[in-house]
Amino acid sequence: MAAPTDTAEQTSLDAGSTVVAPAGAPEAHSHVGGRTVRPTAGSHLHPTVSADPEAHRVPTGREEVWRFTPLRRLRDLHADAPFGDGSVDVDWQQPDGVRVAQVRGEEAVALRGASGFVPTDRTSARVLAETGSAVLVDVPAGAVVTEPVVVTVAGRDTATAEAGHVVVRVGAQAHVDVVLVHEGSATLAQVVELQAGDASTVSLTSLQEWAGDAVHLSRHHLSVGRDATVKHAALTFGGDLVRVVATVDYAGPGGSAELLGLYFADAGQHLEHRVTVDHDATHCRSRALYKGALQGEGAHTVWVGDVLIRASAEGTDTYEMNRNLVLTDGARADSVPNLEIETGEIVGAGHASSTGRFDDEQLFYLQSRGIPEDVARRLVVRGFFAEVVQRIGLPLVADRATEIIERELALTGS
């Protein structure tokens, strides 16, 4: 006798695309959406790579990388909104063994592209070209920083656009956890670079706890050193429109990158996360796990995960997963995992994506033990996010995330 398995409310999809080119193909290229692009660019999805802002056209919204983003809500951040200087304050805690400083002048200029990042769009090119200062978190080789470095970016108003550049530079065999907190109101274009030295262990968490009127375009780039272990987390709760684009490449073999994300979109919010992992070195590993919840009319989340395994990246082990939980009607979650493989000599490559409503069977089970529906829903949502929170592994972040999730759940009493 079968137990009831009502999956009508649950949709599971695998909307991704997988492109496999045979090993030893005569010409190294890949097919994307019917176009042939050269994979030598930073990524097949960012065909233009240049530090010169003028090399990048102003996006129209028809481009693949911008197609989900409501450009009219960007306050011209994607175009040429003049950057001001002063409506965003940066503050930090500086534990022993690490230098945190706001550097200016030549030192700031020298940090542009410190991780090997070359801008892939007009906004990130403008940020690097126009910001006169950078926040530097500098960890010398061999240093082990036991306390997290917390850098707080607090906005005061949204009237002027601001640009910010953050560089986390970690020497060989060093260890540090960096937490970047964004709060208040701002219209912010940002570049965050992480250079993780050989055999370093680094975590970089970016918390978007903005007020409801913030607009934030953030471009993260992670360079994973030889045998380095990097954890990157993006947690987005606040803001009218937040778009975090993270790219990863490997400076040598044996590197590992774990990309974690958690987002909770309310009515009218657009929260977009993109990760691109460029496997260009041998025996590297990547894992992406992003989970999101949505509630309210017009809540929109976007997750795009691109993994490119180049012909040279033998021994690659990669898996990416995105799960979305739609709590109310009127919300929309887009989820697009892409995997492009140019060599068959790999350990593993996979992706999964699912977007669904509450699992009725889970709710029934909890309720059948007397637990009221609202409490049961909270248990399930907390449980849904618990995996990501645990993997981030920082009590500071876990506490903040848990508190915000509880607040979000109290909003609709779901």
Binding site: P4, Y365, L366, Q367, R382
Partner: protein
Amino acid sequence: MSTLEIKDLHVSVITDDAPIEILRGVDLTVTSGQTHAIMGPNGSGKSTLAYSLAGHPKYQVTSGSVTLDGQDVLAMTVDERARAGLFLAMQYPVEVPGVSMSNFLRSAATAVRGQAPAIRTWVKEVRGAMADLGIESEFAERSVNEGFSGGEKKRHEILQLSLLRPKFAVLDETDSGLDVDALRVVSEGVNRYRETGDVGVVLITHYTRILRYIKPDVVHVFAGGRVVESGGPELAEELETNGYVRFTGQPGGVTVGGQR
């Protein structure tokens, strides 16, 4: 003294097409202190009866009534039924990733008892109940049913039974998939619950094996979506010998101590 009374219950399962009627007029009255075994062939509607009593949304009651001490059970939500004193030990307990067993048990006990149990006595109570069922303490921190074996899931159903102490427990094929040792441990758990006093048990099973450990007062034969015959424990013995053929017109049926 409590009474669970099911009268002329008709239930359909909701499918993508038209609803399909599964229960066709079930009559059953259980009073506290009694254990009723409901036995029947596969597909006779036994599990539908169990899920309907618990209020699973997939099943639609089209007519009839279910009352618990005169209260209309069918008008209650799923959680209200549990708080009123009904418990269903499921054949296929559901995995709830991310929710720890200890958090779940405490949330359930808080809901059913009307207040959060005092931490110190609660921890002791849970540890004792787990030990009685041979459940390792590490399970408290695992996600509800996630990655549990069939036997582990069944032990945890009985663990919940022993902590929530309902007025009536419906055990839906709790014996299926258990080896002899696990069957004994689980049965002892059910018997301890029975000995707590004024409680009633509805034991749904395909096999007579579990009846060696949990002695029923009344045995019902379920076929075609209703109770077709009721009797004492001797009825189970007859089923063991002759199977369900007399009730279904089909050969085959009860396998003694059988495994599926």
